[in-house]
Symmetry: C2
């Protein structure tokens, strides 16, 4: 898409990131289509298959820059490897401990009561709910 493309360019610009060939190629893979969870190695393979020439190091760099820019969210549930989530809305996760699959669910309907104050006068940044299923 052309509108999508210039949208991405603008979001990168706003984050102080030059819209390079590599970043645009990866962004297209990430943001075309529905929300998804992806790992670096996997995205690297997809890029290769789609003819986007980009090194693995750049895939890692780009994913982290996108997280810092608020284009992606990082999810830590699996031990020893990072997962990146294109869904930026308030949501939580089911985590299937058998298949290692992550499934989003909307946070709007979820209510959490009885949380204690954050210790040491710290500020709550985010609340992550992981429902482990089997």
């Amino acid at each position: 898409m052309d509108t999508e493309d210039s949208d991405i360019r603008m979001r990168l610009r706003r984050a102080g990131l030059r819209p390079t060939r590599q970043r645009l190629g990866l962004a297209r893979l990430l943001f075309a289509g529905p929300d998804r969870h992806v790992r670096a190695e996997e995205l690297s393979r997809e890029a290769r298959e789609a003819g986007v020439r980009v090194s693995l190091a750049t895939v890692y760099n780009t994913l982290h820059q996108f997280v810092d820019a608020g284009l992606l969210r990082r999810v830590d549930v699996e031990p020893g490897r990072a997962c990146f989530d294109t869904n930026l809305s308030r949501h939580h996760h089911f985590y299937d401990t058998g298949t290692n699959e992550l499934i989003d669910f909307d946070a709007e309907d979820v209510g959490i009561t009885g949380l204690p104050e954050a210790p040491g006068g710290k500020t709550v940044e985010r609340i992550d709910l992981v429902v482990r299923i089997r």
Copy 2:
């Protein structure tokens, strides 16, 4: 402690684990004193300092065996490394994203409503709540 020691011996026995010098030494480090969070590398260092001769491989093996035996719980919040928790009661965690520190809080007072059904007819194994603070 002597009573503590024979208690640990018994719990290991019940789990089908021989109470070896290494396992007893690590168990003493883990379970003497208040509840704690610990990583393998750290426990290995503590053992060395306490004069408990045990290889890093055995520390890893033992931690996993203790988790399987229900003596420890594994916590996954930090990317790329496992943390083990001696607190077996129902509780959740504050996670200080600045210091990487984990702080327990009781789950008894916490209420969670509006959770969707587990997808695919799966069973809910556990619900982990991580309050990220800064």
